[in-house]
C-alpha cells in the first residue's frame, strides 16, 4: 500500500482574488439574524448574533463585503451589490466598523470579545494544555504549513492573545520532521507527516504521549491564524484562507466556490466530486454556488473514475483495514455488523474508539464503504441512546 503522506509543496504565496459581487454567508443553528432584508451593510458589520451568551461558542457572523442584504435564508444570508440609486437620490453609504481595541481585556472578557469578532471559541478552555496541530491534516491540504511559513507574525499574535484569554498551561506545536517551523513560546514536537497521524486526536498523542490526554485542546494552525488575524487587525473576521489544487488563496467568507475556482483557473471535470476540506474527511458539495465557509481550509476536487467505485461489496476478511486502523479496532467486522443492521453488536467491539480517519475505506481491496458503514452504526447508536434517555425521563 502506498503511504499517505501529507507533505505537499507549498504555494509561492497566499493569493487574493477579485472581490466577489455577491456572497453567501452561512449561518449555523445558534445564529439569529441581526439585519433586515434590503438593509445596506458595510464590511465587518454584524449580520447575525449567537443565541447563547457565554464566552465559549460559535462566533458572530459579519458582512464580508459592502452591499445590501438580498435575502435571509435559514442557512445563509446573501449580500449583493447595492443597486444604483434613483434620480436625485444619494447612494447609501455602507458603514464599516472601526478598529476595536482589546489591549485592556483579559480572560473571559477577551474570549467573549473574540467571539463577537467572529471567532469560534468552542474549542478553547481556560488553563488547559493547548496543542497546535502544525501538520497538514490531510494529503493535498497544505494550509497549515503555508500559514506557518508565510504568516508567522500573525500566528505569534494569535498565541499572545490566547495566552491572555485562556492562560494555557503548556503550548505544544507539532510540526513535520525537519520543517523547522516554530511559534512564539511553543514547545515544538516533530512528527512524521503521515496520514492519519496528522489528525487532531493522534497529534494530541504525539504531543502529550497519552491517548487520553487530560485537559488538552487541539487547535489547528488555521484556528490560531484566525485569532491572530483578529488580534492584529482589530477588525471582525471576514475572510477565509484555503488551498485549492496547489494554490493558496484568501477570499471574503461566503465567496461562491465557482468564483474561487474561476479566479484560480481550476477546471472541475463533469461528474467530479468537489469537497470542502481534504480528500479523507471533507464534505462533498452538490453545487459550486455555495459560499466558502469561514472555517474552510481546502477545496478538494476528485475527477470521476480516478479511483475504484466504492459499493456494497461483500467483505473478504483480508484484514487490511485492521492493519491501518489507528484506533486498533476491526473496521471490517464493524462494517459488517452495520451492513446487517446489528448496530448493538458494534458497541462491545469498541466502535466508540473510531477516529473516522477513513483509512479503512481507503485501503479496502473489496472497495467497501467501511467507514461509511461505521458512521451509520454510530449514528444509529446515538439515536437509540437518545430514545432510551427520553423514555427514562418519561418513566420518572
Amino acid at each position: 500500500m502506498k503511504k499517505l503522506s501529507t507533505a505537499t509543496p507549498l504555494s509561492d504565496s497566499i493569493r487574493s482574488i477579485p472581490a466577489p459581487q455577491r456572497v453567501r454567508i452561512a449561518l449555523g443553528r445558534g445564529h439569529t439574524p441581526a439585519v433586515k432584508r434590503k438593509q445596506v451593510v458595510g464590511k465587518g458589520q454584524v449580520l447575525a448574533e449567537t443565541t447563547s451568551s457565554g464566552p465559549f461558542g460559535v462566533g458572530f457572523v459579519h458582512a464580508t463585503i459592502d452591499g445590501i442584504v438580498e435575502d435571509i435564508l435559514p442557512e445563509a444570508i446573501i449580500i449583493g451589490p447595492i443597486p444604483s440609486p434613483g434620480e436625485g437620490k444619494e447612494a447609501p453609504v455602507p458603514e464599516r466598523p472601526g478598529r476595536a481595541e482589546h489591549k485592556n481585556l483579559a480572560d473571559e472578557a477577551l474570549v467573549r470579545w473574540l467571539r463577537e469578532m467572529g471567532i469560534d471559541t468552542s474549542r478553547f478552555h481556560p488553563s488547559r494544555t493547548v496543542v497546535v496541530n502544525g501538520l497538514n491534516p490531510e494529503p493535498g491540504a497544505f494550509l497549515s504549513e503555508q500559514l506557518l511559513r508565510d504568516e508567522r507574525a500573525t500566528l505569534d499574535a494569535g498565541i499572545n492573545l490566547l495566552e491572555r484569554a485562556v492562560r494555557p498551561g503548556n503550548v505544544h506545536l507539532v510540526v513535520a520532521r525537519g520543517s523547522g517551523y516554530g511559534l512564539h513560546g511553543a514547545h515544538v514536537v516533530e512528527a512524521d507527516p503521515q496520514y492519519p497521524s496528522t489528525l487532531d486526536a493522534l497529534v494530541a498523542v504525539t504531543a502529550t504521549g497519552s491517548e487520553n490526554p487530560e485537559a488538552t485542546d487541539v487547535i489547528s494552525v488555521a484556528d490560531l491564524y484566525r485569532v491572530g488575524r483578529v488580534a492584529t487587525t482589530g477588525l471582525p473576521l471576514t475572510e477565509a484562507v484555503l488551498t485549492v489544487e496547489g494554490h493558496a488563496v484568501r477570499v471574503p467568507t461566503g465567496t461562491p466556490i465557482v468564483e474561487v475556482l474561476d479566479a484560480l483557473g481550476v477546471q472541475v471535470p463533469a461528474g467530479a466530486t468537489v469537497a470542502l476540506g481534504g480528500p479523507m474527511t471533507g464534505e462533498a458539495i452538490s453545487s459550486l454556488d455555495i459560499g466558502v465557509p469561514e472555517n474552510c481550509t481546502a477545496i478538494t476536487i476528485v475527477p470521476p473514475g480516478r479511483y475504484p467505485q466504492v459499493g456494497p461489496n461483500p467483505c473478504i476478511n483480508c484484514g487490511e483495514c485492521v492493519l491501518v486502523c489507528p484506533a486498533r479496532i476491526q473496521p471490517g467486522m464493524l462494517s459488517r455488523y452495520a451492513e446487517f443492521a446489528l448496530f448493538e453488536e458494534t458497541r462491545p467491539r469498541h466502535i466508540a474508539a473510531c477516529v473516522e480517519c477513513g483509512m479503512c475505506t481507503y485501503v479496502c481491496p473489496a472497495n467497501r464503504p467501511v467507514l461509511q458503514y461505521i458512521r451509520l452504526a454510530k449514528h444509529k447508536l446515538e439515536e437509540q441512546d437518545a430514545f432510551v434517555a427520553t423514555c427514562r425521563l418519561q418513566d420518572e
Binding site: M280, T281, A284, T300, P314, N317, I329, T361, P369, L371
Partner: protein, 317 residues
C-alpha cells in the same frame, strides 16, 4: 463574469474520496501473473500434461462457481478472477499427470466446499485450495501420490523418499535442486525458488503481509531444527524442509488466504508459527509425506480463537 465551469452535476459521496486503488480483481490478476513463471517451469518439467491440469482446474473452478452462483441466486463474479485463482492454486498442488476427472472433482470441491457453502469468496473460514487438495488426498491417495503418478521420470519426490526411506535416501538431493524444482513434486508448488520469488514480489507490492509467511517459515525452520538437533541421522535438516514439498507455496499462497487467516498482528504471527510447527509434525509423524495443506486447514480452524488476542483500542485503559 461568465464562469469557465461547465454546468454539470457533481458526484456527492461521503468521505473518504480517495482510494488506494486496490481491487479484488487487481489483486487476483497480480497473483495469477506472479504464478506464471512457476507454472511455465512446471510445464517445462512435466510436459503438456501440466498445462492440461492447469487449464482444467481453472476452467472447472470458474464454471462451478458460475453454476452454484446461479443456484444461489447470486450475481456472477467470474470477472474478479477469484475462482480462476483458486483453481490454479489447486492445480499447483496436484501431480502434473493427474487424470482429468480427478482435477475436475478437486476443482469443483475447492469451489463448493471451500467457498460456496460459506457464501462465496471471502466468506470461507478455510483455505479453499487446501480443502480441495485434502479431499483428493484422502479420497484417492494413489492418484495423489506424487512418486507413483510421476513414474515416467527417473527422479524422486524428496518428501516421499524421506518418509519411506529415511534421511539416507535424501542425502543425494541437493538444496539447489530443490530451489530449482529439479525433483519430482507437485505441478507448480515444487518450483520452490520461483514460488518464493512470486511470493516476495507480492509482498513487495503490499498485497500479502510479511507476518504470516515469515512466521510460517520460521515455524517450519524452528520445529525442524529441534528435531534435527535431536538426531540428524533420523530427521532431515531444517533447510530441506523449507525448500521441499509445498512449504514455500503454503507460506505465500495458502496460509495467507484472506478470509481464513487472522487479521491482528500477534494472531497472524502465532497462526504462522502454529501452521509451521504442524507441518513438520505431520511430516514427521503423519502418514502423508507432505502435510502442509493439512496444517493449513488445522491452523484455519484456530483463526477465530487467535483473533481474540486483540490490542487495546485507541484510548482504552
Amino acid at each position: 463574469m461568465v464562469s469557465q465551469q461547465s454546468p454539470s452535476l457533481h458526484t456527492v459521496t461521503a468521505p473518504p474520496f480517495w482510494h488506494c486503488g486496490r481491487t479484488v480483481t487487481g489483486d487476483m490478476y497480480r497473483l495469477l501473473v506472479a504464478l506464471v513463471p512457476a507454472a511455465l517451469l512446471g510445464v517445462y518439467r512435466f510436459g503438456y500434461d501440466a498445462l492440461t491440469v492447469l487449464a482444467v482446474a481453472g476452467l472447472t473452478a470458474v464454471i462451478t462457481e458460475a453454476l452454484i452462483q446461479r443456484l444461489m441466486e447470486q450475481s456472477p463474479s467470474a470477472h474478479d478472477f477469484t475462482a480462476l485463482a483458486d483453481g490454479i492454486l489447486l492445480a499447483f498442488l496436484l501431480p502434473a499427470t493427474a487424470p482429468w476427472w480427478l482435477v475436475v472433482v478437486g476443482s469443483a470441491v475447492t469451489i463448493i466446499l471451500g467457498r460456496m457453502v460459506f457464501g462465496g469468496f471471502g466468506g470461507s473460514p478455510v483455505c479453499a485450495p487446501a480443502v480441495g487438495w485434502c479431499v483428493l488426498t484422502v479420497s484417492w491417495p494413489a492418484y495423489m501420490d506424487l512418486n507413483g503418478m510421476l513414474l515416467r521420470w527417473d527422479l524422486v519426490e524428496p518428501l516421499s523418499e524421506l518418509k519411506y526411506f529415511g534421511v539416507e535416501a535424501i542425502s543425494g538431493i541437493s538444496l539447489s535442486s530443490l530451489v530449482f524444482g529439479q525433483n519430482l513434486g507437485a505441478l507448480g508448488a515444487s518450483q520452490a525458488g520461483l514460488v518464493l520469488a512470486a511470493g516476495v514480489a507480492l509482498l513487495c507490492m503490499g498485497q500479502i503481509r510479511w507476518y504470516i509467511p515469515v512466521s510460517y517459515l520460521a515455524g517450519v525452520f524452528g520445529t525442524a531444527l529441534i528435531y534435527w538437533l535431536i538426531d540428524p541421522q533420523l530427521y532431515a535438516s531444517p533447510l530441506f524442509h523449507l525448500l521441499a514439498g509445498t512449504t514455500m507455496f503454503t507460506a505465500f499462497f495458502l496460509l495467507p488466504y484472506p478470509s481464513a487467516s487472522p487479521v491482528f498482528r500477534i494472531p497472524m504471527i502465532l497462526f504462522g508459527l502454529m501452521a509451521g510447527a504442524l507441518t513438520i509434525l505431520i511430516r514427521v509423524y503423519g502418514i502423508y509425506p507432505d502435510g502442509a495443506p493439512f496444517a493449513v486447514l488445522l491452523a484455519n480452524l484456530c483463526t477465530p480463537l487467535l483473533d481474540l488476542i486483540q490490542p487495546k483500542p485507541f484510548g482504552g485503559r
